[in-house]
Each structure stands twice: as C-alpha cells, then as structure tokens.
C-alpha cells in the first residue's frame, strides 16, 4: 500500500518530478550581462553586488555558484561551469579578496575566465583578481587561490591547489600532490573543438533560464 504523502518513486513510470529542493537565492541579486546564446541552469546561484558576465555559448550547470562579492565575475566564451563549482569564492578564512588594480589602474575584478575554460564539480576559484587562462581545465575539488594567474591550456587535476597569487605558466599540468609538468601534446585545438561539441549537447540537456537572473 502506498503512503499518504505522494512519494516520487524514481522507479515508477508515472510522471515524475525532479527532487530539487528549492535553492534560496540569498544575498543581493547581481547585475548580469548574459549573452543570448549562453545556458544558465535554473538552479544556478548568482549572488553579489558586482556584475556577472557570461559570454557566448557558455554553460552554467545547476547549483553552480557565481559570487561577485569581491568584484566582477567574467566568464569567457564557451566555458563550462559544473555543479557546486564556485567562482569568486571566499578564501579558507572566509574573506572575499578584492583584486588590486592592474597596471592601467582598472579594477581586476574578482574572477576572470578565459574562453573554453572548464571548471569542474566543486572547484573553488577564489575572488581577488584571479585569472584562468583560455582552455584551462580546473579539476574536481581544486582550489585556486586569490589573485592567482593560471596560464592557457593548463590542466589542474582533481583536488589540486594553486596558492594565492601564484602564476602558473601556459600548458602546465598540476597533478598528484602538487607536482607539475608541461603538457606537450599540442592538442589545444582538438580540445577546443571537443568542448564546442560538448556545449552543443549540454545546451539541449540543460534547460536555460537566464530571465530569472536579469
């Protein structure tokens, strides 16, 4: 006999509802600049007083966090931000760093992602002028310190750490417990093409709701 409360049994074949507990959009609603072709999941979390920019064809998965408490968050073109990743995170003491102005005197903004960047599940990219170069993959659970500058086409494998303010040269692979080596495969173009194909599929799989944030 079934219980009185309607239980969404994932094995039944009636119409099922996703069990998505409501995400409370706490904090100020940020001003946003979304490209018309980007995909923002409905349960993405965007907070902060500064602007959040998501460029052409980028994908923000459900439950990804974009926090602009330390400054502007810029996501480049064809980026993928997985669930539970946080762009503009506080550091381990809970402080949101504000970037120091660059040589032209402009504010660096909290986090800047180049094009074709993938930020995987649970990665924390701290705010404070952090720059992730084009084509880089920030692995699962990785923490990128405040103000770090990661080069292009780098691979930060899972659970790695980039110290605050560190500069990582292009094509670096950070693996194991902090070991580094250089990626000499020369597959950057192929990876970019594969990312474009992945984004085509993700745009169909993830229902986008940019209007919710505008």
């Amino acid at each position: 006999m079934s219980s009185a409360t309607p239980s969404p049994d994932p094995r039944s074949h009636h119409k099922r509802h996703s069990i998505l507990p409501a995400v409370s959009q706490s904090g100020p609603k940020p001003p946003v600049q979304f490209s018309s072709s980007c995909t923002i999941a409905d349960s993405a979390l965007l907070t902060g007083p500064h602007t959040i920019i998501v460029s052409t064809e980028s994908v923000i998965h459900p439950r990804a966090r974009l926090e602009s408490l330390g400054g502007r968050v810029t996501v480049g073109r064809r980026c993928i931000v997985h669930e539970r990743a946080c762009l503009g995170a506080a550091d381990l003491q809970g402080r949101y760093h504000k970037g120091s102005p660059d040589k032209d005197g402009r504010s660096m903004g909290a986090v800047t992602l180049g094009d074709y960047v993938t930020v995987e599940v649970g990665a924390q990219v701290e705010s404070g002028g952090t720059v992730i170069g084009e084509g880089t993959t920030v692995g699962i659970g990785t923490r990128v310190g405040a103000g770090a500058v990661v080069g292009k086409h780098c691979t930060l494998t899972a659970n790695s750490t980039v110290a605050a303010g560190e500069v990582i040269p292009d094509y670096t692979v950070i693996y194991s417990n902090g070991l580094r080596r250089v990626d000499k495969r020369g597959v950057s173009d192929l990876k970019n093409k594969a990312q474009a194909r992945q984004i085509d599929v993700l745009r169909r799989l993830i229902p986008s709701n940019p209007a919710k944030f505008q």
């Binding site: 239980s7 049994d9 099922r16 996703s18 998505l20 439950r63 699962i140 659970n159 194909r197 799989l205």
Partner: protein
Amino acid sequence: PPRGEYIETDTGNKVARKATLVGTQNIMLGGKTVIQPDVMIRGDLARTIPSSHSSAGGSAGGSGGPGGSNTAVAIGRYCFLSRGCCLRPPGRVYKGVFTHMPLRLGDHVYIGPGTVVQAAQIGNHVHIGAKVVIGEFAIIKDYVKVLDGSVVPPNMVIPSFSIVAGQPARIIGEIPEGGIEAFELRELYKTVGNNPVPATG
C-alpha cells in the same frame, strides 16, 4: 503527520528530501538504497545518441520524450550514498558526437561523504571513502575498497578485491580472506531513515 527527513518508497529506497536529484526519470534505484541529504545525482545528463532500434510508430508515442527510458544513472540494491556526494554520468566524444554514457552502480556500494563519482561502472560490494574523486569512465570491479581522499584517474580499471589509495590512485593491497563480510550494507541501511534502528557494535 510530521514530514520525515527521508522519503521512503515502496521498494524500500530512502531518499532524503534535501537531496538534489536532477532528471529523476533517468535515475534507476535498485531498492533499499539510501540517499542522504546534499547528495546530487545528475540524471539529466543522459545519452543523446539515439539507439539503433528507434521506436516504430513514433507518432503515437507518449507525451514528449522518446518511448524507452534513457537511463543516465542506474543504482543497485542496498547502496548508500553519503552526504554531499555527487554522481555524474561521464561524457566523451563518441563517433564524432559528444554524448554521456550511463553510470552504473552495482549492489552494496557505499559512497563516502563529499565524493564525486564520474565512473562508467562500479561493481558489487564496493566501499568508496570520503572526498574521493572517481574520474570519468573508470571501471571498478567487485569487492574493491577505495580509501579516503583517493583520486582515481579517468579510464582506470580497478580489478576485484583491490584496495586503492593515493593521488593518482594506485592498488596498495588486496582484500583479505575474511574481509568480504565488511562490505555488506544491510545493517547500515536500517540505521538511517525516518525510523532508524540504532547501529549495533
């Protein structure tokens, strides 16, 4: 009546109300499986390549969507997904098109808190520790123990009866003869839910 922390289904699955299950049509739970709060299962990342035997008489198909179920995540019996873990189907470029492949868990699989699983297949009686990362398309056979904090690289195949640890994960030992009973999760299943039975021993 007060709402319990878990939803208990007819087949004995205990799914926490605060778990995030996206795309539940594509998630198959075997029965007697526990899903704790803050678990995230991406059932929406399902396979997008149409299978070779497409449904005939498609015009009479059901509301929207294809007729057959398109499983993204299949979980066996007596599995235990601890708090904060994330199950995500792996994806790759297959025949020129990017697609996700189903993530299949066997029976009696324990997944520790904070773990991220992107494997292709996990066998029966597997114990995965806390804060583990299982890379895409990894295959874990039966009776394997993955220690806390391991990072299993993509495409790794872990043979049966291994103990695996490290970053990247390496086989560091074998499950001893008497160690098989430790993988059973029936007792653990009874200790959670709306009417938990206290754990013994």
